[in-house]
Amino acid sequence: MSTSEAERRLLPRGTLRGPTPYVIAIMTFAMMIVAAAGLALASAAGLVAGAVEHRYVLQLPDGGEGRLAAAVRAARGVDGVTGVRPVPEQEMRRTLERWLGPGGLGEELPVPALVHLDLAPGGDSGRIGAALGRAVPQARFIAEQATVEPLLRSLNALQWLSLALVLLMGAATSAAVVLAARGALDTHRSTIEIMHGIGATDEQIARLFQRKIALDAAVGALAGGMAAALALLVIGGGGAALAGELAGGPPLRALDLILLAVMPVAAVVLATIVARSAVLGALRKAP
């Protein structure tokens, strides 16, 4: 074929007649939403992990009789500790009353004490823990990372689940494109036979179908991508505020947004490659 216009005429027009654009639109929409959720989870997990990376807690079973003040003084004296924030006794009492009920915390029960510690980046937590153990023998030195570890594990699992879902939807999109390509081949079987008879190569014929399916996929991916972007803006607005509050940062970074923007293009490329290989595979069965 020497001109693209003549090539285009070989397959009848009417891009939105088949189901391909709709399938691609739905799949692109779903993939982008799931991917955005996965990326937001990854971002949140990163922020949470980063926030607690150098944070530790000093736990005292009984903070009374000046033990909390002594622990704070001791912590401030240890090299490598950059921040010391004791939890006020009143706040601890309020927290415990939620568990024990009003008046449940009598004068005879000891009130535990907590001291949040910030360690200098690269600080030797083992050495600092040992130093604090010597200064405040009854205290426990706990990394906050250990506390949030189950949450981070859950977030990590959800990220992998999101990735798996995106891959599954990509596979489903590929399967839909294969079916669409086979359907198109069946519809245009007589045209293909004529073209083969006249001397067209498999490549020339595949190019026609590849172009048609790529165009259908582009229309679908654009529609699905725009719908997903709108949904992310509307739904994500509230989610962003919540995530920002929880994790201390935006749920999606610039790189995540670029990745999401690339997804419709990736869907078109995937559909085109799959369509081409499906058509060539089917054509090779001809005599």
Partner: protein, 255 residues
Amino acid sequence: MARRRARARTRRRWKGRPLSAIVEFDSVGLRYGTGAEVLRDLDFRLASGGFYFLTGPSGAGKTSLLQLLYLARRPTRGRIRLFGQELSDAPREALPAFRRRIGVVFQDFRLIRHLSAFDNVALPLRIAGRSEAEVEGSVREMLAWVGLADRASARPPTLSGGEQQRVAIARAVISQPELLVADEPTGNVDAEMAARLLHLFTALNRLGTTVLVATHDVGLIARTAGAQLMRLEKGAMVDPTGILRNPPVESVQAR
């Protein structure tokens, strides 16, 4: 002008050249699936530049034989050589180049319904990668030749059977093939158009194209001087004199 120059070149190419076999069938058989052979023990040669008629009763295997010739099917046994090349088990990728050297007029026309008459006729040239300027001139000239100049933009469903057949013939001969295979090419046209088409075939043949026409039209055969007759009966070639196995090259050259 360009077309005339091309024809002159072709004429020079063929003038005085010793004619060889363009088609060679050796013990060729064809069966569909596990059924009985529809073609069996076909042994014949078509001289390059010859004009042949293929006749035989309905169901004798004429269309199957033509399908083997235009490489739509492969034989289940035996060897086929076209243009001096063994093609019985040639790789698929090699076949398009040979198909472009063959013009085919199908019995059922096989026009692409949604393309105009112009685009149908232009198809072989576009597949061969000719420029649009070249396509435009050649197709207009060919459509005028078959009397369809004013129907260039018409689509096949709006054309009569005879018009469709002429479009199919124009498509088959547009690229001046070395071998022209036609299955009942005058079946849907009146006597005057049949004579014009036969004239087109003989003109192409004079330019060096080997022509094989499957037909029941004895009038067509009678009007073509020097044509060789081939007859198929129950899948076998009737060749009592052995003339098809050893074609008389001299007689073809003399025409």
